[in-house]
């Protein structure tokens, strides 16, 4: 009985920590974003473990998602594929429960596939509106929380 109890507890915690990290092309990422059109506003966050500002702003993005059921944050990691387990560990530590992606294309194809206007600088953010899925704001590099909040407000109401 005690063994079953321990197994049940372990399974519970394992499932809580079971981050789904999916290798993805830019097309897969765009299709995922489009799937939320009419249902949720979306923030696309392209990040890497080696990118200090990306790591700094990550908890804030997780909080945005947790606090708003009408908002989905699509996290796309761009570390090398052999960093897969480190990326997964980071996501677990951040308490991320949703599906997450890791780039599996060459930079040039991936960057242009996501947005031709993006130079490749990290972190990279695009905010899409809830109703029509149009871009309400996008930027490269670190920006203050207020810019995120303004973009989210617009995305939720447009």
């Amino acid at each position: 009985m005690k063994k079953i109890y321990i197994i049940a507890i372990s399974l519970f915690f394992l499932s809580c920590n079971d981050v789904e990290l999916i290798p993805a092309s830019s097309l897969t990422v765009i299709e995922k974003i489009n799937s939320y059109r009419g249902e949720k506003a979306v923030i696309l966050n392209v990040w890497a473990l080696w990118c200090a500002p990306c790591v700094e702003e990550f908890p804030m993005l997780v909080e945005f998602q947790k606090n708003n059921e009408n908002l989905e944050v699509v996290f796309v990691n761009v570390d090398f594929q052999d960093e897969f387990e480190n990326v997964k560990s980071f996501l677990v530590k951040q308490g991320l429960k949703s599906q997450s992606f890791i780039k599996n294309e060459k930079d040039d194809i991936f960057i242009n596939g996501i947005n031709g206007q993006w130079s490749g600088s990290l972190p990279y953010i695009i905010v899409f509106s809830k109703s029509k899925g149009v871009v309400v704001d996008s930027w490269e590099g670190k920006e203050p929380k207020s810019r995120f909040e303004l973009a989210i407000d617009i995305a939720l109401s447009s």
Partner: protein, 194 residues
Amino acid sequence: MYNILKYLTFFSLVFCSELEIGSVMPKSKVGLKTIDGDIINLLSVKGESGTLVIFSCNTCPWVIKWEDRYVDIAEKYTSKGINMIAINSNVAKFNGDDSLIKMKEHANKMKYNFIYAQDPDAEIANAFGATKTPHVFLFNQDNVLVYRGAIDDNARDAKKVDEAYLANAIDALLENRKIEKKSTKALGCSIKFN
């Protein structure tokens, strides 16, 4: 609401546009501070056959992965008339990791064989639409932009490069051939403007 959307779209477009291929080098007379304490400008760097400008810094992991190739490129092409400069526009870090002293230490450690200089107000980075490190701009002998973007397609390992974008562009420029890929992209660290 519509006005806010217009403003945000305008903001994104204005501040994310790289210098167009075919443009004449902007801000070529703006002063740059070299690690040797000299004030120079891009006109003084200009080579007989062209000028290679790389926006760079001391600490970006992707610069560190790629910078072995900076040295190889300078070694191979300076003698062929392509002069090279690495510009540091990380204004927010000029009192820290990207100070002139640390830049000099970094250049010595990595055996830089080209000019390394600060862009004091990031005026040149802004004029070029440079957003990241490394970010490459190649100009021909008339100071017209002929290539921009990435060094090659493998930051991690020079031996596993499939396409040496920059070297291909320089070779084509020197041989008066058409540059097949005039613009490429790679990931990089954002320039720390403020």
